[in-house]
């Protein structure tokens, strides 16, 4: 079926089967490979993207059902200027292998935007086997300070 997706500000028209997930549409059709496939079952969070500004699991979302703009980690930075959450992840060493990082960052952006009370609880849908958890919390705290100062 013909669908149209707005991904990181660009409108993409593609022909996909009704069972194609947003994650596979992004990764395999549009070569947007920031979101990762860690489980394909909504168990790990590595595929987290924003749809209409809300974090969703791209592996549990059918591409054909998406009608709002999609933002992935690939579209967060402005040119060479990292988003404050991206910069905070670099500064706080909030990653090791980096495979979960795309999803962590998209959830972290939501945590900052929503000014959540319990960061650890909010971030618990994103597994990090390298276990950078304390540094991820520190990164979100840094980004919140940046956010508050602008």
């Amino acid at each position: 079926m013909d669908i149209s997706l707005e991904v990181n500000g660009r409108t993409e028209n593609l022909d996909v089967g009704p069972g194609v997930t947003l994650l596979d549409a992004l990764r395999e059709r549009l070569d947007v490979t920031g979101p990762k496939k860690g489980c394909d079952r909504g168990q790990c969070g590595a595929c987290t993207v924003h749809v209409g500004g809300r974090p969703v699991l791209a592996c549990l979302t059918l591409a054909a059902t998406v009608h709002e703009p999609v933002t992935t980690v690939d579209g967060l930075a402005t040119g060479d200027d990292l988003h404050p959450v991206q910069q905070a992840f670099v500064d706080q060493d909030a990653l090791q292998c980096g495979f979960c990082t795309s999803g962590q960052i998209m959830s972290a952006v939501a945590a900052v935007e929503q000014d959540v009370d319990d960061v650890r609880e909010f971030m618990s849908g994103n597994l990090c086997r390298c276990s950078a958890y304390p540094n991820i919390v520190a990164a979100i705290e840094q980004a919140r300070r940046t956010d508050a100062s602008v």
Partner: protein, 724 residues
């Protein structure tokens, strides 16, 4: 130095390309089919419907196989390759491979493959089959797996226990575990008619290149592996993966690029896991806590090919001084997926048993557990004349006790409202190893340098360490170093395993830098060169002689050269005849156990480590913190549960529990930095694995301190702490 990770900007923007992030023109997609029995034979496979399904290009099986030879290398032994015969040795074994135009087509057609089996009874649990245990072969360093040391005049280890005033210990068990790296094993392979390029996360490019070349009967020079970014490994990506073998062979057969990835569920059965263990530990001591005898007998599970041993007893011959020691190691063949190295193989589950037993001995002696450990601190492996090159475990305990507030601990724990609060401690040890490595350094006319090695950085921080140690060796700022790794095109070395990469690659960088600078000085003073006829020296990125100096870039420019390069190698040597080498640490843990729900929360963790020189404080701290969280995971979360039919009851990331952010408190990591230059010129000893060692025991010991309940298995669950 504490720079941020060099590749971090690529990882936070999605621009770091992992294996399956590569999309090539005309690429096909492969999907693996796995067995639904644990033991038997594939008698038939009906692939008619699968072959007729939309987009399907090929279906490979034992009846229509992709030809692959089983590769072998000295470190890993034989590596199993799929589809070569009809034997099924475990449930979830790859038995077919469907290739189609799209991922969805391959997946859907895979569901149409009908496999018939002749099933045989399966043995799947360790506890029921200890009688099948055979003596493990010697360790890779030649250490026998069964080892007895007796004091003069002592006839047997039992006699030593009979003469001990206090005896403590028990039977400890740990489950099979899966590395659960966030990146499932995957590959993109492209055969261009003469050579093969494979993008697939791995722990060393040269090893993967060698295995693929051998499996496909190609010259190694015809295989190019590209893995600069690896989504976690932890020992689970040492061997070349099933998708990499299948994608490579299928690409060669079909003449098109092929992408293949295991599903998360398949990662649990089609790769390899940490073995399950059962360990009996007995400790005998005098009334003052001086150890008289140590006994540690272990059994570990293995696949039917007995291709790996989890050496849990070995560490008990290193940790404490004892006049009498008896250790043994048996391995039990079962119809389970293959087993392999996983972060701190041997030490992680072995330390759970030994360090729990030490706590039990401290209780029996009514002695502080730290005092007991320090009283028996070893000078070297039991029965060896080679003492530790450098050991500051006492400092680790002293500093740790102070930072953690250990003096507030009481033998019965304390209460805080509805929470029972306890503290526990344990010793961490991990051998300091070095593997041979070769590096290449290129000095360029723009005053920058390339430092290259084929090894991997699956989140360890090796790339950044290469820049730091390259800068140090070439006497220029790190910003002027471009480190490169992960490609088989670079020199072999820097395998990510055994906590060795910093030491192995760093030592090679020292040798290579010296070689390239020697060459630089030689061309500087050669006839017709700017420093002709002068004695030249090198410092601060400059060649000096005859009262003037030039940067190496200026010199190369003056000589009309773009660059000069050298390669150099380093490896373990004579130091092995003079000392034993290990890293040490003291783990501290506070737990809170809810009085009514019996939920266990780790509320504080501290690790103080004596791991030689720390090259990059920031990354080392992160890696140790990660290791300690793996210890929390082992203690309270993870463990594969095997059904009688060989199925994993929890073989996915919903059922196989690993900690999430909310499970983890703030963690304190501290270093006692004493460079160990007896071991290697860098003075570092590696920090990848020691962080996990001892943590599970420290937690179990803290749970005992809080509740009075001794749990001798992991993971510790609520059920274990329900009373009466």
């Amino acid at each position: 130095m504490t720079p941020t990770r060099l590749e971090a900007p690529l990882k936070v923007t999605g621009r770091a390309k992992y294996g399956s992030d590569h999309n090539l023109p005309g690429m096909l997609h492969g999907y693996v089919v796995t067995s639904t029995i644990a033991h038997g034979e594939v008698t038939a496979m009906d692939v008619t419907a699968a072959k007729a399904a939309p987009g399907v290009v090929a279906v490979y099986s034992p009846f229509d196989p992709l030809v692959l030879r089983s590769p072998s290398n000295p470190m890993m032994g034989n590596t199993w390759v799929p589809l070569q015969d009809r034997d099924v040795t475990h449930r979830g074994q790859p038995v077919a491979f469907v290739v189609a135009e799209t991922f969805e087509q391959a997946r859907d057609a895979a569901a149409l493959v009908e496999v018939s089996y002749a099933e045989r009874p399966a043995r799947t649990t360790l506890a029921d089959h200890l009688d099948l245990g055979v003596d493990a072969p010697p360790g890779f360093d030649g250490t026998p797996s069964t080892h007895v040391v007796l004091d003069e005049g002592v006839e047997s280890i039992d006699e030593a226990f009979a003469a001990s005033a206090v005896v403590a210990g028990g039977t400890y068990t740990t489950p099979a575990q899966n590395h659960a790296a966030m990146e499932p094993h995957s590959a993109v392979a492209h055969w261009d008619g003469e050579s093969l390029t494979v993008y697939s996360g791995n722990q060393a490019a040269a090893m993967q290149q060698g295995e693929l070349a051998s499996a496909l009967e190609l010259a190694p020079s015809a295989v190019h592996t590209v893995n600069p970014y690896v989504g976690g490994a932890f020992g689970g990506k040492g061997r070349t993966s099933v998708p990499a073998f299948l994608a490579a062979a299928a690409s060669r057969a079909l003449g098109r690029p092929v992408k293949a990835a295991l599903t998360r569920e398949q990662v649990f059965t089609a790769t390899a896991n940490r073995p399950e263990t059962l360990q009996e530990v007995t400790l005998g001591a005098d009334r003052d806590g001086t150890l008289v005898a140590v006994r540690h007998d272990s059994w570990c599970s293995a696949a039917t090919d007995l291709s790996f041993v989890e050496p849990t007893s070995a560490g008990s011959g290193h940790a404490y001084r004892t006049p009498n020691l008896a250790i043994s190691q048996k391995v039990v063949p079962l119809n389970i997926p293959r087993t392999t190295f996983m972060r701190a193989p041997g030490e992680a589950p072995g330390s759970f048993a030994l360090e729990s037993a030490m706590d039990e001995l401290a209780v029996a002696l009514n002695m502080d557990p730290i005092e007991l450990r320090l009283r028996n601190s070893s000078l070297g492996p039991v029965g060896s004349d080679l003492q530790w090159s450098s050991k500051y475990l006492d400092d680790c305990y002293r500093i740790g006790a102070d930072r953690f507030g250990w003096s507030a601990r009481t033998p019965g724990g304390r209460e805080d409202g509805d929470w029972l609060v306890g503290m526990g401690t344990a010793t961490a040890m991990f051998p300091a190893l070095q593997f041979p490595a070769t590096t290449e350094i290129t000095l360029r006319a723009d005053d920058t340098a390339l430092v290259s090695v084929g090894g991997a950085d699956p989140g360890t921080g090796l790339l950044t360490v290469m820049a730091l140690l390259g800068a140090e060796s070439l006497d220029i700022p790190p910003e002027r170093i471009t480190p490169r790794l992960g490609l088989s095109a670079y020199p072999p070395g820097g395998l990510s395993g055994g906590s060795t990469a910093t030491v192995s690659v760093g030592s090679a960088i020292v040798v290579t830098a010296s070689a390239v600078l020697e060459e630089l000085q030689a061309i500087a003073s050669a006839p017709g060169a700017p420093f002709e006829g002068h004695d030249v020296t090198y410092a601060d990125g400059r060649v000096l002689g005859g009262g003037r100096s030039m940067t190496f870039g200026e010199l190369l420019t003056a000589l009309g050269r773009d660059s000069i390069s050298a390669t150099g190698s380093a490896g373990p040597g004579e130091e092995l005849t003079k000392h034993s080498f290990s890293s040490f640490g003291a783990q501290f843990c506070e737990v809170r156990v809810h009085r009514w729900t019996r939920e266990v929360r780790v509320s504080r963790l501290l690790g103080v480590y004596d791991a030689g020189r720390i090259v990059n404080d920031k990354a080392a701290r992160s890696q140790l913190m990660g290791g300690m969280i793996w210890g929390v995971s082992a203690a309270l979360h993870e463990g594969l549960e095997t059904e009688g039919d060989g199925r994993f009851a929890n073989g996915d990331l919903a059922g196989y529990l690993v900690p999430v952010n909310a499970d983890i408190p703030d963690i304190d990591v501290h270093f006692v930095q004493h460079p160990d230059t007896l071991h290697n010129p860098i003075g570092a000893r590696g920090v990848g694995e020691i962080g996990i060692v001892g943590v599970a025991a420290a937690i179990a010991n803290a749970v005992y301190n809080a509740t009075g309940i001794r749990v001798r298995h992991t993971p510790i669950t609520i059920e274990d702490l329900l009373e009466g």
